[in-house]
Amino acid sequence: MTITTNNTNLNADNGVNVEALLGAREQLSGMPAAAQFKWRATCEWINGAHSRSTVQNYFGLGAEQSHRTKFTLDADHPELFAASDNGVTPPELALTALASCLTAGVASIAQMRKIQLHSVTATLEGDMDVLAILGADTDARNGFSNITVRFEIDADASEQEIEALVAQSQKRSAVFDIISNPTNINVEACKA
């Protein structure tokens, strides 16, 4: 069923190039090998819980690719955990990854549906029993027991259309899938 909206605005501009996205979908469907991407990050220990991750290169469209610059992200633990607090905690990074992924999805889908966005704010909260990571409770989970995401969206759209944007963005989100579904992780180690 197509979505009918009374708020459709042919001039809606959320800074998303829909034609390019649709073109990519069409082209990549025809050559699935080019759609196989590899996303990469490297991370270097600095001191204590402080580490610095670097992201620059990735693989896609059958070739090595690069971001236009090298990005770095610091992570650490807060002073409450007797650490130096030089960056956000890794679980907070996971929350930001989820938030950014869903937000990008909201913008893209709004553009597809010709809905003009004015502001989008996502507020996230993850519940965690830290006794697990401290090794004091083997029954509790290390990770979040629950994540809540609250979107506040100002757009030329009805409440129902806004809810549909957010629901659809979850359906298409890489990080939502990464967090909500199990993934095999292979960790190797060697002496440098």
Partner: protein, 417 residues
Amino acid sequence: MRRTTTAVIIGAGHAGLAMSRCLSERGIDHVLLERGEVANSWKRERWDSLRLLTPNWMSRLPGYQYQGSDPNGYRTLSQTIGFIERYAETMVSAPIYTHTQVRSVTRRDGGYAVVTNQGTFRCRAVVVASGACNIANVPACAEGLPSDLFTITSRAYRNPSTLPEGGVLVVGASSSGTQIADELQRSGRQVTLSVGEHLRAPRDYRGRDIQWWLDAAGVYDERFDEMENLSRARSLASIQLVGSPSRRTLDLNVLGERGVKLVGRLAGMRDGVALFSGSLANMCKLSDLKLERLLDRIDEYADRTGLASAVEPSHRFEPTRLPSNPPMSLDLRGGGEIKSVVWATGFRPDHSWIDVDVFDRRGRMRHDGGVVDAPGMYIMGLPVLRTRRSTFIDGAAADARALSAHMSAFLAVRQAA
């Protein structure tokens, strides 16, 4: 037995029979080949309590319309079998060769050779009407199930006594999954239902069957070549519906009230433990929003056509009630509460016997609204083949008319050439 005909129809279910009727009307000489008996899959591949999801009036076939006293009722399995058998007896004049299993279809001399256990048939055109539900889909992670656990597909399931006593995990919440979950929970078993993407709808809305509205408002007439995302439309799960004399609604709220436990989509298996996705809330939200849009569309139709005053007032349904903390995993190893697993994870057709280059890289037949990408080959009876109605028995008439017209033109061109 005639071995050389203009056309061969493979399958004597509602689709093949409807096509036969249309070919006869056009004077196209043909035979039907049926692996078992007329209405075979209804006889052997459905559960006992199943009723059609569409009301009696909504199973129109070429030359047939329901004349009985209960147009709004839902055919039971045996009534459905009887209905298709009677149609074959009274409306179809071409020979139906039963217990004739097709082993292969190959191109031969500009036409086709259809090899069966009863010999080879030669023809210029082939209609594949062998059904959409030949193979029950089972997710790859099923391999990780404990080997001593009882598992069954919705295609093989007959009634609760098929299953051992004890808890059941039903995977899939389309019409099959919800109906089977409902029946098993009533049998005294504790059912856990794994819910992915799904569609919900009330049985009746504003005093009329939901199918009546979808039919009247033209939803079922949406054409395949006018859809934004055809492959998605073709892969949609069936709406959560049940045909029952009480006209009851079957959705996740009803199942929840009955005690069925809801969990997320089955995302994988680890050491005999089933892992569920954290997407349950969104799956339910999407379904609630789709229902809203569907009812909006029905209300608009009622307003536009002046029906609104003749039917009950517009209303909305309670959103899906989510469990507060659905479990993310379930131990399926021996000694646990789960004694069996039912796969209600959809079906796909079996076309492995077609030795003609007509398949895409995912093994699906390449066709344009039933006109297969091979001269003189046609397919019928698949979901959203030509319109959304194609999914139902009710869609076979228009599809057979269109495809028989195409075949007639194809044969005429060949004759002239």
